[in-house]
Symmetry: D2
Subunit: 383 residues, 4 copies
Amino acid sequence: MKLRLGMIGGGEGAFIGAVHRIAARIDDEYELVCGAFSSNPEKSKASGVMLGLDASRVYNSYQELIEKEKQLPEDKRVQVISIVTPNHVHFDPTRMALENGFHVILDKPMTFSLAEAKELEKVVEKSDKLFCLTHTYTGYPMVKEAKQLVKSGKLGAIRKVYIEYPQGWLSGFLEGSDNKQAEWRTNPAKSGIAGCMGDIGTHAFNLAEYVTGLQTTKMCADINIVVEGRKLDDDGAVLLKYNNGASGVLTSSQIAAGEENNIKIRVYGEKGGLEWQQSDANSLIVKWGDKPAEIWRTGGGYVSSFASHNTRTPAGHPEGYLEAFANLYRNFALTIKAGLEGKIATPEMLDFPGIEDGVRGMAFVENVIASGKSTEKWTNFNI
Amino acid sequence: MKLRLGMIGGGEGAFIGAVHRIAARIDDEYELVCGAFSSNPEKSKASGVMLGLDASRVYNSYQELIEKEKQLPEDKRVQVISIVTPNHVHFDPTRMALENGFHVILDKPMTFSLAEAKELEKVVEKSDKLFCLTHTYTGYPMVKEAKQLVKSGKLGAIRKVYIEYPQGWLSGFLEGSDNKQAEWRTNPAKSGIAGCMGDIGTHAFNLAEYVTGLQTTKMCADINIVVEGRKLDDDGAVLLKYNNGASGVLTSSQIAAGEENNIKIRVYGEKGGLEWQQSDANSLIVKWGDKPAEIWRTGGGYVSSFASHNTRTPAGHPEGYLEAFANLYRNFALTIKAGLEGKIATPEMLDFPGIEDGVRGMAFVENVIASGKSTEKWTNFNI
Amino acid sequence: MKLRLGMIGGGEGAFIGAVHRIAARIDDEYELVCGAFSSNPEKSKASGVMLGLDASRVYNSYQELIEKEKQLPEDKRVQVISIVTPNHVHFDPTRMALENGFHVILDKPMTFSLAEAKELEKVVEKSDKLFCLTHTYTGYPMVKEAKQLVKSGKLGAIRKVYIEYPQGWLSGFLEGSDNKQAEWRTNPAKSGIAGCMGDIGTHAFNLAEYVTGLQTTKMCADINIVVEGRKLDDDGAVLLKYNNGASGVLTSSQIAAGEENNIKIRVYGEKGGLEWQQSDANSLIVKWGDKPAEIWRTGGGYVSSFASHNTRTPAGHPEGYLEAFANLYRNFALTIKAGLEGKIATPEMLDFPGIEDGVRGMAFVENVIASGKSTEKWTNFNI
Amino acid sequence: MKLRLGMIGGGEGAFIGAVHRIAARIDDEYELVCGAFSSNPEKSKASGVMLGLDASRVYNSYQELIEKEKQLPEDKRVQVISIVTPNHVHFDPTRMALENGFHVILDKPMTFSLAEAKELEKVVEKSDKLFCLTHTYTGYPMVKEAKQLVKSGKLGAIRKVYIEYPQGWLSGFLEGSDNKQAEWRTNPAKSGIAGCMGDIGTHAFNLAEYVTGLQTTKMCADINIVVEGRKLDDDGAVLLKYNNGASGVLTSSQIAAGEENNIKIRVYGEKGGLEWQQSDANSLIVKWGDKPAEIWRTGGGYVSSFASHNTRTPAGHPEGYLEAFANLYRNFALTIKAGLEGKIATPEMLDFPGIEDGVRGMAFVENVIASGKSTEKWTNFNI
């Protein structure tokens, strides 16, 4: 049984909408049945068509989506709605969806303001529907393992937390050019009072509280607008105090030129510490005062149920392995489709292993085993 | 438009069948419409049900699948068949599928023997259908980039190739216990004449020829059965000569205790070299004789069309990011379903960010911006 | 010509005294001629004997050293005095040495207080002698390269600086046990007002100003005593402002359990960034917004005169190579000496390559070349 | 007591002679008293002067050195002779030195041929003097730890060994230009029958036997001359069999363009494996089949006596730390000397921390502690 999924926002060209849809497909738990992909009706239609939806269930607004879907029979009606609009269009559709009986998945940061957030909290409490906020980094198996390790007490009481999220892509005044991603993220009308802090600082903040199980009690922040002409912060550093007395440092920047998205957390307790970073997402480094540091790996037989529950492949198949595999399927499909449509497949589409690779592979097997058995030094590679 | 996909093999509990299905779903280019998942009819049915297939299109054998599907109207009939059975059941279904007008995706190694492979080559040549062999590692964007870099001539003529694929999981006599994965891979009746060389050596071989564009002409192999009682090779090393005069070394082992799957390739030309390894799949290290080595990254603005065509996320979102995202969707779905089925969601299922995370996140945004503006040193974290 | 060197402090068992002496020997620019190694006369004598000094030039106090050496003929008299006492005995001997005509090398932090430091500054200004403070990390070739890179303007104006110096060795109350290193570092009477900040925070501070060429103008610090009973800070984080408007974050801790001494700096300018850390001291990572990151290496043909001037070995001989080499010399010497003294050399002393290694090595050369020429597959290894 | 050391070869401009001298100085166990640095008497004298030797003990040939030193009184006479000439001048001086009562340290490879090596073995056996061959890589603490780990049996019986030593510096025909290092290494008259295999292959071979304690019994080699016009091998790969039945692969190349000297060894036993590489010399990665890999570090409290005996600094001070320290001493000395000689110190010489760094450092300490205590957010940095 798949859950029926609808989407608000995320039309053509939106990076995060596509990510949500892939995420929904990977485990086959959802079926996309409807959407209001854009406030521009034509764009919304076009996106719906591209996604293979029934035209009658591609709507012109989130209001229409919620109202019309509600009138459908229960076994056809959408069950879960993903909301992937910019921050200023988070609160209204989420409230309306929940109040009309739909589960909601919402992109972060949750709302435009804290007041809206607290209002939404009440809506969720009153509703009997479920709510999920996509703080992606807590989805990594080894982040879950980190949390369980802290919880186990093996590191002792937590004393120090470092979290950093450096990016460099806003080092220039990109919002002055035609960059959609930069435009809304630096626009107070769409993003609210924070730029960098709302966009990625919230991820860092969430990751620290998730892994440590601690809650922030005080902060002291240095918030900067570095690039001239920018309207919202693009850099910041925050000193933190937690409810157990531990202290922390959170840094987050979009002007760290040359950096990608290397979110990283380090936590230290009385007896040991841990380190995790997205660029080596399948490793959790566990450090001890009196013995060698250890490299815990996704899929290792020793990890907790929380890490193994969130892992699809055996140890040593890094998670990107699935996308590499998907590339074969995709290029093959694109080539088939080009044929069906009378088009010529590009070299990029044709780049999948074929029969010759297979013949050569089997020739390798036979030749290598023969060479292994041979007393001759060099044997020709025969096919 | 999605292509209609069928699957032969890959029933419940088979690792690689699930991987094929996820790969097929990620880009939404396929819709699974039928399958013959096991030679055991009951198991096949159960797998089909679990996958949400129409029971009439879950078959008891690959022969039945092909025959029955052929009788369906063209716009309903399966178009592409994935074959994920053990090696000894590769040739027959592939030939039958191709000869009956279906495209085929086949798991590697291609066949049970070279003779079969050459036979299959003729079948493919006669057929007007397409054939894809899943040599996964060539699907990584930075492997594709490596190939293009060699092709560009920037490294000069290739002189030396090192490929290694170390695993440790067969360090013990696992086939003696109840390990399905170990059992067929070490069984000559199912795997053919090679164990390690067929299972992972072929990947290494294929990767080297793919990246360099060279063809192997000679080899000198040391093939070993290390674990007592084992029937097929579990370790080997091969000296290689290529058609341009370059030499190479291929090592592949399943008794390198403690190793996961860290397939790695290094290629050296007259002017520079390259290095790629699966454990850091988004980086391609490019080395030069007279200037600093460079770290080329998936999603970098400077990569070739072959790499960017095979990338779904912007630079810095490592490919495992999609699975992390999918974990949020999955846990949310499992929790909803538990509710629908009157079951209690486990703590692992409930482990997704919710409303409290959202409120705290927005509180972070407001508090941090306020602290940034404040002349007070420590400000309380208020919600 | 070697400079005549004297040492104040650094008797037996003192880690940093030995480091200073090794540093002085490596390039053969100094000859140790005298010392006042301890305030305990017997200890001072014993250390002097162990170091092979003329007994008449091993003194009981730094005052005695300076007075007596001054009376020696100019061509015999000490020229440079190294002062490696705890912080509270830095100022007096340094002033006295300079005022009496000796060059001084002083361990950091420079003095017990800022007032002393400013006083010392006047002494240095009045003196015609030279003064060196051992901020070790600025001695690394790739740190020097980092400074030159910033200076070259290639990164653009500097915007952000991160410096961190995490240690874990004071995670427990070591000063309660018999740990000399911990005792004085946590004792206000010997270290002054700061513990962690004086001991390692100063290194981080110095490194940041050295590499960037910027000067700190403002700070906001979170300084903590984490371990119960400790009298000085063992952890801290500081927000910084620099004189060009850039901001920075400095963290330094001695309770980051499991960490060694991984001092690390990252600097970001308008166009790119750099990263250096002690644990990979021979690499400088240079990052760019629009092209691949680069790995600059000690000894690379492209480095500046400042880096190459401070490098003793060709590229690829990491700096620890010299100590590895020295281990052979040392173990050989210890074995010879054991013989001269009629003692039995321990297995650790005897652990150096000998004649059998040489014979086997030459056998390798001859056998491997013969095997290379042979058409036989396996050739026996003959000696 | 220092041992009196003499040197044969290693005059000005010779890389390895300088390395031997630094190695001899680091631990202060030797005093250089004499030398025959070059077969060219003038060059030998000049080198001796530069090294501060008594002119009467700088000789014109190794024969003269040995004969004249023998006539000196026993307490003045050289005790240990380092021989750092090219391979073809190894055997004669070594034999003569040993037969005349001197200990010998000899650079590798030991001799010009295996016949000479076996002859030398007899000389050593007859002599009561000690002999050391400088296989540097076995001097690293974590290589010693690796050997002890294998010996402990914790990895189980060894099954597989990989050793690699890739270099790229001979990718071009350097011997055609004026490169002294390249010239003799590629010249059969000076190096013997092997180029790459003798120069670095022997290191790899020695390292493998040292760490595993195994002996090679069979080999199958692919030896190549890649660069046109070259007279000796510049690349090779060797399949190996060991005396316990284990197999191995040794690769060594001087045409791996872009590589420095990253010698690396991996050893796998029944229960686990180990990995060490020179570019991260202070780490030994220990891998297990059923638990997380571990990072063993130089200076860790858990290492064997063999590793700790060969370590000079506490954990976390990587070995290059000593050279960084030495750079401060060196630049300070060069600046003093420039003054003494009435020369102007270059900017590179003047690049050591001075009084201003000290004042700023103390200002950091006082300001940071004050800021830590202050309730004000930003405090000015005052000096």
